[in-house]
Symmetry: C2
Subunit: 337 residues, 2 copies
């Protein structure tokens, strides 16, 4: 039996639903951190409305990816899981899967691009995973992953186009709905950093059931706005390049085959920010919220702060999806203030 | 009636008790943030035991001081409160009181030293307070405060030696007890950054009732270890100097007349760290927890990480009490890694 086929049995977008997100939450209970919803009157003033930040950078492994990693690993049939898992990732999915595997006591192989942030490579190794580096331009990570998966009987945990991963990320949306209710928020725009769309589609599905008056808006960096263009044209569009942004965490070739139909059905138009706006958002998160956000994790906050004219309503909730940033990249952002 | 006398009626240490802390929590309900208890396997490894961080740097106004500020302001009789409040502070108490006053819609005057961090002065003004600067060496802040208080009928909110302030800070201890129980922790050393002792005594009082097997340890910077020496000698000892540490938030002349008897009755020995250890703790909090901690707010984490041989037990909980740090001070800490 090919372990990789286990999770891939469910490839129909309609297979991800609120029941699957609720089930993921049960499996994540006591493992994932309920990250806080932060705010600052200074940020409200810049945004021109009430702004709340769902600080997923404070999640275990430094990003929301731990939710999806744990959800997928914990959903595996025990004998399949015992053989181990494999993932390819520029870093946050790598760390999320590596930590989930370690906590399950199973081996993990992570295929990472050579130009991934050093901190992310080092952390993935420190979580006990075997890291296999590849050249993002010359080599095909899918081919490498498939070969290793077959050779060792490892189950491939895809970074976003996988129902159990989407369900895990969707638990973020359950928390947003609850925390917004605690704050008395009835209507909100929910801005989410969007790479392949796993977090965005998971949150959109959760809010469809738990806070249907909330509208999810995917956020992307300039020149890597595949989801924004795909939503505008109604079909999957690709990015022209795969490098050239500081937002490494959310640079993907195109939206997923499972995530895109969900995004198309539930989300509002995409929002696109510059690298400089992402840096300014990082600096403001440092000064006003006391959290560390990486560039890709800051694009939704940047959209909330600097693209208010394209956002509806009196309340915006921005997800800061990760904080795994090298020191010099962080310092460059602080100097943008 | 002198507004300043209102809060000062209760100057007996025995007047601060768990009932007063519980009452402060009721008044703070929906206002103070329940800050998360964070952790990282990387920090556990350095500490040599399980390490949890109570991230009060994520509190409103960027430090725990909002709790005490709100507690004191909300406890005032309405007609007294309406005339306004005054506080003297190098920064965090200033911001906490200023924000509490703004949210109550009353005026606030804050007397700050000229060498306070720029961010703290700017934020205090941005919260709507009137800032009066004074020379820490040449002028007497108590005299300035007393004069302004009398002239304008303002109530003085002392930074730590005030029962309602201690009660507000003590709500941090109630949360620690609850969050530790959620993590299954039955015995722990609780390390708290200690200036005048408001936070430390408040937490110690809360834990005395809610988690009596927890032992509170005050933490201080080298050369400003007045509380550590006072606990050792059994009587209040003064610091020789009032400047010369990067830990501005917790540099006070001596423990308070109300706080010290509480510390003496309930706390274990003090722990003393170097400025460099505080900086390294800031850098590790950045890398591993994704939070921004200021030097004075990092001394307890530094003690947990680097003075493990002086700490008992398998679990340590360190409070990171504030995150209001200027960019260059933060960058200097990151370069210590």
């Amino acid at each position: 039996m090919d372990g990789g086929s286990f999770l891939q049995q469910k490839s129909d977008p309609s297979m991800v639903d609120i029941a699957m997100i609720e089930a993921a939450r049960v499996r994540l209970g006591g493992r994932a951190r309920r990250t806080p919803l932060l705010s600052s009157p200074f940020l409200d003033e810049i945004a021109g409305r009430r702004l709340f930040v769902k600080a997923e950078c404070l999640q275990h492994s430094g990003s929301f990816k731990f939710r999806g990693g744990w959800s997928a690993v914990s959903a595996l049939e025990p004998s399949v899981r015992a053989r181990g898992v494999i993932a390819f990732s520029s870093g946050n999915h790598a760390q999320g899967v590596a930590l989930a595997a370690r906590l399950h006591g199973i081996p993990a192989v992570i295929v990472m691009p050579t130009d991934a942030p050093r901190l992310k490579i080092a952390n993935t190794r420190a979580f006990g995973a075997e890291v296999v580096l590849y050249d993002r331009i010359k080599e095909d990570r899918d081919e490498i992953g498939a070969r290793l998966s077959k050779e060792r009987g490892l189950t491939l945990i895809k970074p976003f186009d996988e129902p159990q991963v989407i369900a895990g990320q969707g638990t973020t949306g359950l928390e947003i709905a609850e925390q917004a209710a605690e704050e008395g928020i009835e209507v909100a725009s929910v801005l989410v950093p969007c790479g392949g769309g796993g977090l965005t589609s998971g949150i959109a599905l959760a809010l469809e059931s738990r806070a249907p008056s909330f509208k999810v808006r995917p956020c992307e960096p300039e020149n890597f706005d595949d989801t924004t263009r795909s939503l505008a044209s109604g079909k999957i569009e690709r990015n022209a390049a795969l490098q050239g942004s500081i937002c490494d965490a959310i640079i993907t070739p195109q939206p997923g085959n499972i995530t895109f139909p969900i995004l198309k059905r539930l989300c509002g138009a995409g929002l696109v920010v510059t690298d400089e706006e992402a840096q300014k958002a990082m600096a403001l998160a440092f000064t006003r919220l006391k959290i560390v956000v990486e560039p890709g994790g800051a694009v939704a906050l940047a959209a909330a702060l600097f693209h208010g004219k394209d956002i509806d309503g009196d309340v915006v909730i921005a997800v800061t999806s990760g904080g795994n940033v090298d020191t010099e990249v962080f310092e460059a952002a602080l100097s943008r203030r």
